[in-house]
């Protein structure tokens, strides 16, 4: 761990526009939280699906600046995309872009775990329920 954070990490860390929760209401909303016991890290993702798209994505995270910055970047990336965008592999590219030390791979992958779980929630919801996200 080098202790030096890139400018982008610092920016995302200082001003995480997507940090927080989604108010229950309007569109279909789901939340998942995953954690990793080794370093005690935790990631919570919430999203509203609207017409098969992620109309809003929010995160909360307990972890180091790299994890927080990556979570923010992740949310910004997928917001507005189809729900299935949550299933893409994003962590390797994020780690490179944010110069995350390799020993933090484990905690960064929490993001993918949470995203997959979130996608499942949103997709299940839409398949066994209201059809409006399908049109």
């Amino acid at each position: 761990m080098d202790g030096a954070y890139s400018d982008e990490v610092r920016r995302l860390f200082a001003d995480p526009a997507h940090a927080g929760d989604l108010p229950p209401g309007g569109s279909r909303t789901a939340s998942v939280e995953v954690s990793e016991s080794a370093a005690g890290c935790r990631v919570r993702l919430s999203a509203s699906g609207n017409a098969g798209r992620l109309s809003a994505v929010r995160f909360r995270a307990f972890g180091c600046p790299h994890l927080l910055a990556a979570a923010e970047a992740f949310c910004a990336e997928v917001e507005g995309q189809p729900v299935t965008a949550l299933l893409a592999r994003r962590v390797p590219a994020l780690m490179e872009r944010l110069a995350v030390p390799v020993e933090k791979t484990g905690r960064l992958l929490l993001l993918e775990d949470a995203a997959k779980a979130l996608a499942r929630e949103l997709l299940e919801d839409s398949s066994d329920g209201t059809n409006d996200t399908q049109t």
Partner: protein, 394 residues
């Protein structure tokens, strides 16, 4: 100080800026103002260099109320700790192979002891009492017939907790066991009177009391029992205990730092106590903040606080431009939670959030106030990000 300073340095337990008088003396020494040379040379240049080194040794000795002949220069406290522990253990190995130390020691002591364990020595790792002090009864019970060395630090580098050197030393003397003390965090900052303390070996380093980095010393009590093996072999410098060309400017710097410390010690201590009080008053009202280590028997130059629900590495970044430490500087890069706070009974969750504030001679109240505000802001910012579950899970 203006509203947003470039940097507020509150990490003096990691390293202190050298005092301007130290810098000046070193600069003059490096410039050859009083000559330069190898103190081992017999010619005039060498003699001048040696005189400078011996003057410095005398200054350090005066700070510690001991004879200059009892001090051996080293490259710092890490080397002094290793020299004392490995050197004493190896020399006395034929008599016994048992050592006693604490779980809250600095890595320089803990890792040296662990290395001896791998080499067939046995080490008893005593746990501290709740506030970080050694339980003297536990120490008494730990002594064995084959115990050769006890190594207990003076001031803990993470919490500032002060151990009772006299009580520990007396128990060692009673049993004819050597007592080594890592005093890296106390020499130059708290009174250390070696003419009165039953300590056999004591490590110190200049950069913790406004001297230069890369020079320290080991004190060896003038007792026949107090003998050690060297770690390095070579020229006959430093009574054969520490060969290598003596770095004149470094010794000069440590000597001046010692002289300043001797003159300012009481004043500095009052300054640190005021700053400590002020900082704690500012922090204690923040929800979830706890103080690590007791207030009694603590060096006021250090204040260590944990906070529930906040991750330490992120807290450290959010505190910038306030420079403080998580754990000690030496673990900083590994990111492991502090073994010291764990030994004090803190949960992993609280231990990982610990921030050590430490003051220096030049620290101002305005800096402390700034740090306080910054801490509150950082915590507020991170609480908008960190899930509430993190606190519950802890």
């Amino acid at each position: 100080m203006n509203a947003s300073p470039d940097m507020v340095y509150l990490d003096h337990a990691a390293t202190t800026p050298p005092d301007p008088a130290v810098v000046d003396a070193m600069h003059r020494s490096l410039s050859g103002e009083s000559g330069f040379g190898n103190p081992a040379s017999t010619h005039v240049a060498g003699r001048r260099a040696r005189a400078a080194v011996e003057q410095a040794r005398a200054r350090l000795a005066a700070l510690l109320h001991t004879d200059p002949g009892n001090l051996v220069w080293t490259s710092g406290a890490t080397e002094a700790d290793n020299l004392a522990i490995l050197g004493a253990a190896r020399l006395r190995a034929h008599r016994g192979r048992h050592l006693i130390t604490m779980r809250t020691e600095h890595k320089a002591v803990a890792d040296a002891c662990a290395a001896l364990e791998r080499q067939g020595f046995e080490v008893t790792w005593l746990a501290p009492e709740r506030h970080g002090r050694l339980d003297l009864t536990a120490l008494e019970q730990a002594f064995r017939d084959d115990t050769q060395l006890v190594s207990i630090m003076h001031v803990n580098n993470e919490t500032g907790v002060i151990q009772d050197l006299r009580a520990i030393g007396e128990r060692c003397r009673d049993r004819n066991v050597l007592f080594h003390c890592d005093a890296a965090q106390s020499v130059g900052k708290l009174p250390v009177d070696l003419s009165a303390l039953p300590v056999d070996l004591l490590s110190m380093t200049a950069h913790k009391f406004h001297g230069p980095q890369g020079i320290g010393a080991l004190y060896l009590a003038p007792r026949p029992e107090c003998r050690i093996e060297p770690l390095l072999y070579g020229g006959g410098q430093e009574r054969r205990l520490r060969p290598g060309t003596l770095p004149v400017h470094q010794a000069v710097g440590m000597g001046v730092a010692a002289e300043l410390a001797a003159a300012r010690l009481e004043e500095d201590l009052r300054h640190y106590a005021r700053l400590n009080e002020r900082l704690w008053r500012g922090l204690e009202s923040i929800e979830g903040v706890v103080r690590n280590g007791g207030r009694e028997h603590a060096f006021p130059g250090i204040l260590n606080v944990s906070i529930a629900g906040i991750e330490g590495e992120s807290l450290l970044l959010a505190l910038e431009p306030v420079c403080v430490a998580r754990g000690s500087a030496c673990n900083a890069q590994s990111g492991e939670p502090s073994h010291v706070l764990r030994a004090l009974g803190r949960s992993d969750h609280l231990a990982q959030s610990a921030i050590r504030f430490s003051f220096g001679r030049e620290t101002t109240e305005a800096e402390v106030d700034f740090a306080c505000r910054r801490y509150a802001q950082a915590v507020a910012h991170l609480r908008t990000i960190m899930p509430a579950t993190a606190v519950q899970a802890a």
